[in-house]
């Protein structure tokens, strides 16, 4: 039955995460870590491992907590609310999830416990086109006797410097369909031929260019089949995307909260600025949009959680997240007035981070196109009964 409520254990989990982040990740910590060379706090990372959050959705067989996907969503929503700077998404979402889904039993045995224990991973997917269509995977993986040789350049690889291992998406062959002939490789981040350069970003969120020059990978370090790797990317474009949406939804909620608070407290000409209709109605619209986003993400996460296919819904959630989070931040800054422009207010911290998330796992145009393609394929309900 449709149910917007949380189970007791889910509510408890959310509360623990909130309390942990409130203590360990105040906004000044976010500011510090944005200019930190590592970009995350190893102590906090260790705590995340100790508290079991890194293994939240990893089966107990691999030393995880055996939780559900939706619990990861709760974590990401709270992480987004506090802008947690950490390789959590790169490691747990972009790498552990696909390993759980597509890895051989051997791979899972070997890799997952290390992740649960705190090993950092990341995904090298995007290339110069900075887009998510399979036609943009140009990095080559050439078959040799004992494995593959990878060559090419990946962009916007998060936390590449901290990662011990990469998942690398590369082209093993050219079919008629660009989705064919793609493999996902497990690569030691310190293998010879790998060169990492930090891309300086506004958010200071550890994005890298990673150049692969004849990097050797053994046959056993392929996730899934050497030519069906696109299904792993497609899996990420749904399961990871919704978690990114949760992160964005949490952020949007936080900006709405802090801006509403400011509108209640800031007095101008003798009364709170929130009593001005221009401001109150802007916030009311923001509220409607944020509520919509939040519930859309819950719907998508809840369906993915039970393995119900919902590709279109995921794309809807991402477009919504992209649009709402951005507008919420712009309205937030505007409502704060001049002070909102300064580094002293938290609203700018969020504003500076939306764009990275917007284009991560597909911008609005990309996802709208997926939605319309689906509409084109469907017979409408009124013609089908």
């Amino acid at each position: 039955m449709v149910d917007f409520g949380w189970s007791k254990s889910q509510a408890l989990l959310r509360k623990s995460i909130q309390e942990f982040l409130k203590k360990e990740c105040p906004s000044d910590r976010v500011r510090e870590l944005a200019v930190d060379a590592r970009g995350y706090d190893p102590k906090l990372w260790d705590q995340l491992a100790e508290l079991g959050y890194l293994g939240l959705a990893v089966p107990e067989a691999y030393e995880g907590m055996g939780g559900e996907y939706i619990e990861l969503m709760i974590f990401m929503e709270e992480a987004g609310r506090k802008l947690l700077p950490s390789p959590f998404f790169a490691t747990v979402v972009l790498c552990a999830l696909p390993i759980m889904q597509f890895g051989s039993d051997e791979q899972k045995q070997k890799l997952l416990p290390a992740i649960v224990d705190g090993q950092i991973w990341t995904l090298a997917l995007m290339e110069a086109a900075a887009d998510y269509g399979p036609e943009h995977i140009e990095m080559s993986a050439v078959k040799e006797s004992n494995g593959y040789v990878l060559s090419g350049t990946k962009l916007f690889v998060p936390f590449a410097n901290a990662a011990e291992n990469f998942l690398v998406v590369a082209r093993t062959g050219n079919g008629n369909d660009p989705r064919e002939g793609i493999g996902v490789f497990i690569v030691d981040a310190n293998a010879p031929g790998i060169q990492k350069t930090m891309i300086p970003t506004g958010a200071g969120n550890q994005q890298y260019e990673v150049i692969f020059e004849n990097v050797q990978v053994s046959d056993t370090d392929i996730l899934g089949q050497s030519d069906t790797g696109w299904e792993i990317v497609e899996y990420l474009l749904q399961y990871a995307t919704v978690l990114k949406c949760a992160e964005m939804s949490g952020g949007a909620q936080a900006v709405l909260d802090l801006t509403s608070r400011y509108a209640r407290e800031r007095i101008q000409f003798g009364k709170p600025i929130g009593s001005l209709q221009a401001i109150q109605h802007k916030l009311a619209n923001d509220f409607i949009w944020v509520e919509g986003l939040k519930n859309l993400v819950y719907e998508a996460a809840s369906l993915l959680n039970i393995g119900e296919p919902c590709k279109t819904l995921v794309s809807m959630a991402k477009v919504k997240a992209n649009t709402v989070y951005e507008q919420m931040c712009i309205d937030g800054i505007t409502i704060h007035g001049a002070i909102g422009f300064t580094e002293e207010m938290d609203v700018g911290l969020y504003h500076l981070r939306t764009k990275s998330m917007e284009f991560d796992l597909g911008g609005s145009e990309f996802h709208r196109e997926r939605i319309v393609a689906e509409l084109e394929d469907q017979v409408p309900l009124f013609m089908s009964i």
Binding site: M1, V2, D3, F4, G5, W6, Q10, I70, S260, A263, R264, K271, P272, G274, S275, L276, Q277, Q280, H281, L283, A284, N285, F287, I288, E291, G292, L293, N295, L296, Y298, E299, A301, S302, L303, N305, I306, E308, T312, L313, S315, M316, V319, K320, E365, H367, R368, E369, I371, V372, L375, E376, P380, L381, F382, M383, I385
Partner: protein, 397 residues
């Protein structure tokens, strides 16, 4: 968190679709505005059929002719009503939605016995309209001045009401009157009467919309005699009673709109596929945006239903859903006009002109939604409520 319907609701949905298949022309969207007399007649014939299924007053207790449906069953029913455009489901709206429930709540036994069966069985004599608004009492409802003077065992009613939808279709009027003009506060001294629209002294003047649609009316009461037994509830306690009745109007109204939006969107996409418009750059991405908004309306409306089903108090949720519907109507109708292009200018009241695309539904929504938006409390009012109750902001002017 669960977004799957239960077995009971799924079965009901199937049943309704079966009913639609058997009773409605599938290749045509019935015209829910009931502007023409034939449409009204068809709607009333459907109301009878819905009544036979116990769906007409689906959430009423069985003893009053309903099926005692849960909030979720009612939600499913209303969503399907909107999607398939089942005429007659509203029967002038007032009777089913708040007059009946209000009479159950604070009406006399006599009123219950007389009116509830008339409504729930889809009789013409069960059609009600509601007389709240007056020329000087719009948003400021308590300002009403229509006077009811007690003379013997009758009330003598004099005054004017405005924006009364379906007055010209109704047998009864759910009328707010001033019984005590000397009450210290204007919220006091108001009462509710059940007024027979066939009474002498009742005059109805249609208020036509700028595109000719007849929904609203002015109603004049000139020494209309109303038996005292037609007083609903307690004399001079009308303000509180009306507030209670308004609560019945709130929760589920987004569901019909959701179904209607989905249907029109589906029709638009189909038309765009057939004409190739779906490949047009200006159309393509905007269609995706509307699809997203409709899905968003769904989760918002469902959340509201869920809260009501759990007995939680809803305050800003219905205004939120209402404001969002207004925004969707704006967006949906605009993209619709881009898809049908020059054909948008065809008379929106025509259903079967050879030049009407998608049965004229796009134009109708386009011209209609602003008026409907105002009628249900302006979008700005919704934002004021949200600002105060959801965001705890001070009253805004």
């Amino acid at each position: 968190m669960d977004f799957q319907f239960g077995e009971k609701e799924r079965k009901l949905r199937e049943e309704i679709r079966q009913f639609v298949k058997e009773n409605l022309p599938l290749d045509q969207v019935p015209y829910l505005e009931e502007h023409y007399d034939e449409e009204w007649a068809f709607a009333m014939s459907m109301a009878k059929k819905l009544s036979e299924k116990k769906w007409l007053t689906i959430n009423w207790p069985e003893e009053y002719g309903g099926m005692g449906a849960s909030d979720w069953e009612q939600a499913v029913y209303l969503e399907e009503v909107g999607y398939w455009g089942i005429p007659g489901y509203g029967m002038g709206v007032s009777g089913i939605r708040w007059v009946g429930p209000s009479i159950m709540l604070y009406g006399s036994e006599e009123l219950k016995k007389k009116h509830l069966p008339l409504i729930s069985s889809g009789e013409a004599d069960g059609v009600w309209c509601t007389g709240y608004s007056e020329p000087d009492a719009g948003s400021d409802f308590a300002n009403l001045s229509t006077r009811a003077e007690k003379k013997g065992d009758e009330y003598i009613v004099n005054g004017q009401k405005v924006w009364i939808s379906a007055a010209h279709r109704s047998r009864w009027c759910w009328l707010a009157v001033r019984t005590d003009p000397d009450a210290p506060r204007k919220h006091d001294g108001i009462s509710l009467l059940a007024v027979d629209m066939k009474s002498e002294g009742v005059t109805i003047r249609p208020i036509k919309s700028f595109f000719g649609l007849h929904i609203f009316n002015e109603v004049f009461f000139d020494n209309v005699r109303v038996p005292e037994t037609n007083l609903v509830g307690i004399e001079d306690d009308g303000w509180r009673q009306v507030m209670l009745s308004l609560a019945f109007e709130r929760g589920n109204q987004a569901l019909v709109a959701l179904g209607e939006s989905k249907r029109l969107f589906d029709e638009m996409v189909q038309y765009a596929k057939e004409t190739g418009a779906i490949k047009r750059p200006a159309i393509r991405q905007k269609l995706a945006d509307v699809a997203i908004e409709i899905e968003t309306l769904k989760v918002l409306a469902y959340e509201t239903v869920w809260k009501m089903s759990k007995g939680k108090k809803v305050r800003w949720e219905p205004p939120r859903d209402k404001a969002f519907r207004d925004m969707i109507n704006d967006q949906l109708s605009k993209i619709g006009t881009e898809i049908i292009g020059a054909y948008t200018q065809v008379d929106p009241l025509l259903v079967d002109s050879k030049w009407s695309k998608i049965q004229g539904r796009v134009e109708r929504l386009y011209y209609r939604w602003t008026g409907y938006a105002s009628a249900g409390g302006t979008t700005d009012n919704q934002r004021n409520i949200i600002g105060r109750s959801a965001l705890q902001l001070p009253k805004a002017y």
